[in-house]
């Protein structure tokens, strides 16, 4: 196990032990800096990732356990047919404030359809969705305006909340930074890479501070670092009391999720 792997396992151990996201990030960064300056085998310098994570928990404690709040999203008996094909049959999901729900399942099992129904973009053939509070929706792609700069996107979203230009711009850049993206360059959206455009998309969906945040595979084009940043950000939003629904086909983050809806068996 090289230093990078050790740090990755160590970070995962801290998360598993529910160390607060920002505290964990600092501890990992400090260990990385130490290894870079002093060299040395992380196993000798820090011990096993598990044991060191346990020591850190003793030193700084863990984040308060999430107390799920009131129900924010309640979807019941959702059925959707396209022609003769039943895409969803009697799917149900309840998400409370302070929870992350993952909607998983094979390609074509209706994950995106389910999310679009939750967002109110399409109607189910049967069933009911109740949302309490403000809703944010981040589609798989699109949602950005080709000829506008990131700042102009932020101003646009801000205007919807009654923010003037400068506060809106600052809020946008700060939210982008949470995803590891410095959004200060004057590049129109059409010239951003796919991953960065997706970060813009995500940033906008969090800017309105929605009570319920619906994300449809929000990591298209992300590298590993951006992917980790995304999950850190989701956990942070969860701990602020948002209700989050993530459509995903990647299962390796399920340990950081509170509710799982597997749609593989729900249809047909």
């Amino acid at each position: 196990m090289n230093a990078d792997e050790w740090l990755r396992v160590f970070a995962a151990e801290l998360h598993q032990r529910r160390v607060a996201v920002d505290a964990a990030r600092h501890v990992v960064a400090e260990a990385a800096t130490h290894l870079r300056e002093g060299g040395g085998d992380p196993w000798l310098v820090f011990g096993s990732p598990q044991a060191y994570a346990a020591t850190i928990v003793e030193s700084i404690g863990t984040a308060p356990a999430p107390r799920p709040g009131p129900v924010r999203l309640d979807a019941r008996g959702i059925t959707k047919r396209y022609g003769r094909r039943t895409v969803l049959r009697d799917a149900a999901l309840t998400v409370r404030a302070g929870q992350i729900a993952a909607v998983v399942g094979a390609n074509g099992c209706g994950k995106s359809t389910f999310l679009r129904i939750c967002a109110g973009l399409i109607s189910p053939d049967a069933g009911e969705v109740t949302v309490s509070g403000r809703l944010g929706y981040c589609p798989q792609q699109g949602g950005t305006a080709d000829f506008l700069l990131p700042d102009e996107h932020f101003v646009l979203v801000g205007a919807g909340q009654g923010l003037t230009r400068e506060p809106a711009r600052q809020a946008g850049r700060a939210a982008a930074r949470q995803l590891g993206w410095e959004a200060d360059r004057d590049v129109p959206a059409r010239h951003l890479s796919g991953g960065t455009r997706q970060k813009l998309n995500l940033t906008m969906s969090t800017l309105a501070a929605p009570d319920v945040l619906l994300l449809d595979e929000p990591y298209q084009g992300f590298d590993q670092g951006s992917y980790v940043n995304l999950w850190d950000q989701l956990v942070r939003l969860r701990d602020e009391g948002r209700a989050i629904v993530v459509v995903t086909h990647l299962l390796n983050q399920l340990d950081r999720v509170d509710v799982v809806l597997d749609l593989t068996s729900s249809a047909k």
Binding site: H26, V27, A29, E30, A31, T33, H34, L35, R36, E37, G38, L44, V45, F46, G47, Y52, T55, I56, E58, S59, I60, G61
Partner: protein, 112 residues
């Protein structure tokens, strides 16, 4: 030296050593470890040092700040707070009051 014994001693005074090293100015983990080694305390591994720093930070005896160094990567710099200074004075005096008689007794034993 018997590493177990050295480890036990260190556990009792590493926080005081760190506070003392920060008395005249801020420092970061790796530099503190080097300073301790240079002073003759011996090598201090990161796994021993950083939990102590985190505890000092949590209890408000030091504050910390990430900053780019003059050269090299961003580092977490630690500074002594007023409470840290007071704890250093109090704990340092208690330590000196403790080791003086111990040294006395042990010296007699070793010399005799």
């Amino acid at each position: 030296m018997d590493p177990d014994r050295r480890g036990q001693w260190l556990r009792g005074v590493l926080d005081l050593c760190v506070l003392a090293l920060l008395r005249d100015g801020e420092s970061y983990g790796y530099q503190l470890a080097q300073a301790l080694d240079t002073a003759g305390v011996g090598p201090i591994q990161g796994g021993t040092l950083y939990p102590v720093l985190l505890r000092l930070q949590r209890t408000g005896l030091v504050t910390a700040q990430w900053r780019e160094g003059d050269s090299g990567p961003a580092r977490k710099y630690y500074q002594l707070t007023a409470e840290g200074r007071a704890a250093l004075r109090q704990g340092g005096n208690a330590w000196l009051a403790f080791v003086a008689p111990v040294t006395d007794i042990v010296t007699k034993g070793v010399d005799g």
